[in-house]
């Protein structure tokens, strides 16, 4: 019964996403693309934040690294898009950064972990900001070409085509992440979240489980970075900045920590609000702060659980 409801829910969401471009003006199709990209990003954070209980204020490091790697290959080396190479390099580089960070930070927990991840990710931001020759410094790197699939009559410069391209990747990524959190491995992550000492006493190398989760999370965040950099056609240090890490953290909390699909909804809401509000005022962060406070006070369990409770009544 419960499974059937979820299946119907997923089918409806997919159907809506599938037909959306036929009803939406091009601007909103673009916005929806952005929402999907951040949905992948937020879900990837939820693997460590919600399922493993590792809070992070440095998740932008993985998104940003992948974005920069793709951008540098695209603009500086290939002077055009080699999609297969760039996708692989982008996603792997994010995984490698996660593997390196993981070695350094995963001995810590709680607030300490949060802060040390913040510091580590800001170091990468510093590199992107200062290393002008490669990263373009604070000007960033413009002119990133999207993949070229015109041979099969797909023109990714077209908003609608790029939307479906991102939709495809998002669905695959969401399905894979769902598999991970539902897997035996995902099960051990829940155990770690609930009681690390008990897991150790039971014989788990808790560090190793966390380390794998961290890398998996980084890889999916990297995928979001790859999709984002083609979407924007531009990369700048802000992709690596604390503000990006904080935004995705709020997406996860707003959507519902540890629900996987909740953070996707949170990503949608935040992206939407950000776009509208930033049209009126540059003080977007104030609104974000207010939204965050409202979430914590009114729906600390997140909108996804709120929605589920509502459905059950």
């Amino acid at each position: 019964m419960k499974d059937r409801t979820s299946l119907i829910g997923i089918a409806i969401v997919l159907a809506l996403l599938g037909v959306a471009p036929f009803f939406l003006p091009s601007y909103y199709t673009g916005l929806l693309t952005l929402m999907l990209i951040f949905a992948v990003f937020a879900m990837s954070l939820d693997i460590i934040q919600g399922y493993t209980g590792l809070p992070s204020l440095g998740h932008a490091a993985f998104l940003g690294t992948a974005a920069y790697v793709v951008a540098i290959l695209n603009v500086k080396i290939f002077k055009g898009c080699h999609f297969g190479v760039e996708l692989t390099a982008g996603v792997l580089s994010a995984g490698v950064v996660a593997a390196i960070f993981g070695l350094i930070v995963l001995r810590n927990t709680g607030t300490y972990l949060l802060m040390i991840l913040l510091a580590s990710s800001m170091m990468l931001w510093g590199v992107a900001f200062k290393w002008r020759a490669v990263t373009g410094g604070d000007d960033g790197l413009p002119g990133i070409a999207r993949p070229d699939f015109r041979m099969i009559h797909v023109d990714l410069t077209h908003t609608t085509h790029y939307y479906y391209f991102v939709l495809l990747f998002s669905i695959v990524a969401a399905a894979l992440m769902y598999l991970v959190v539902r897997s035996s491995f995902g099960h051990t992550l829940l155990g770690i979240r609930e009681s690390e000492t008990r897991m150790r006493a039971l014989g788990y190398n808790v560090w190793l489980q966390k380390y794998i989760a961290f890398i998996v999370s980084g890889i999916f965040a990297g995928l979001a970075g790859v999709l984002l950099v083609y979407y924007n056609g531009f990369v700048s240090p802000s992709e690596l900045h604390l503000v990006t890490s904080a935004e995705v953290l709020i997406m996860v909390i707003l959507g519902g920590v540890g629900t996987l699909f909740g953070p996707a909804i949170g990503a949608g809401i935040i992206t939407l609000v950000k776009n509208f509000v930033s049209g009126y005022t540059e003080h977007w962060m104030i609104i974000l702060g207010a939204l965050y406070m409202a979430t914590v006070m009114l729906a600390p369990q997140g909108v996804y659980r709120l929605f589920k409770q509502f459905l059950r009544k």
Partner: protein, 245 residues
């Protein structure tokens, strides 16, 4: 089975465990008693690898495990329970047992198939939960269990793993006398394949289970022997039981 040589643990200036040596034979039941702050739980933390000793050595199953991490000791065959209930609270009873079972074996690295697809784990979980009367409660989150059931699950997690050396840290802590009694018979009924080290304040529990008793006082061993010997020990009566007479 287990041999502890001159084990010492300092916390800053406080010596919690002071030059403790003892050994345990396979299948034996040893109770560790002593007033609050005697170093009993610290000793368990040292044996299970949650803490590393300041001095001394620990040997188990013929290995020097003094510096071994907690999970490696568990893999060698040391299981433990906690004085303060330490379970996966938001997960169900079944999930708790499954996590215990998954600790050995490769499924813990399986990123694709769910726990429920591993039939041998489910079968083993059903077996152990049925045996101890918790199968009907399998889908209940641990937070919703009664305290007594939580304490029972606390032991079951360690027991289900078939670790040959079990460290039970006050298994009857906070239970009613009736519950404590049923726990005593439960532990006493453990197969002799298990070697049991037990901390408990309850003398009925201790003397109902143990064949040997070790008395700790301010981190030192002040008596070691059969329950009767320990009961007769003048020093023990004076510092430990004296208060109640």
């Amino acid at each position: 089975m287990l041999a502890v040589n001159n084990l010492t643990k300092d916390f800053g200036g406080v010596r919690a465990v002071d030059d403790v040596s003892f050994s345990v034979e396979p299948g034996e039941r040893l109770a560790i008693i002593g007033p609050n702050g005697a170093g009993k739980t610290t000793l368990f933390q040292l044996l299970s690898g949650m803490l590393t000793p300041t001095k001394g050595k620990i040997f188990a199953f013929g290995h020097d495990i003094t510096r071994l991490s907690a999970h490696r000791r568990a893999a060698l065959g040391i299981g433990r329970t906690f004085q303060i209930t330490n379970l996966f609270l938001t997960l169900t009873v079944l999930d708790n047992v499954l996590l215990a079972l998954e600790a050995s074996g490769s499924t813990r690295f399986n990123l694709v198939s769910p726990v429920s697809s591993h039939k041998h784990l489910l079968a083993r979980a059903e077996e152990i939960l049925s045996q101890w009367g918790l199968w009907d409660r399998r889908d209940v989150p641990v937070t919703s269990l009664s305290y007594g059931e939580q304490r029972q699950l606390e032991i079951l997690l360690a027991l289900s793993q078939n670790r040959s050396l079990l460290l039970l840290d006050e298994p009857t802590c906070g239970l009613s006398p009736e519950e404590a009694k049923s726990f005593t018979s439960m532990i006493a009924s453990f197969s002799r394949d298990f070697t049991v080290l037990l901390i408990d304040h309850d003398m009925d529990v201790t003397f109902g289970i143990a064949e040997k008793v070790m008395v700790l006082h301010f981190g030192r061993v002040i008596a070691f022997g059969s329950p009767d010997e320990v009961k007769q020990n003048a020093q023990v009566q004076e510092i430990y039981m004296g208060a109640s007479e």
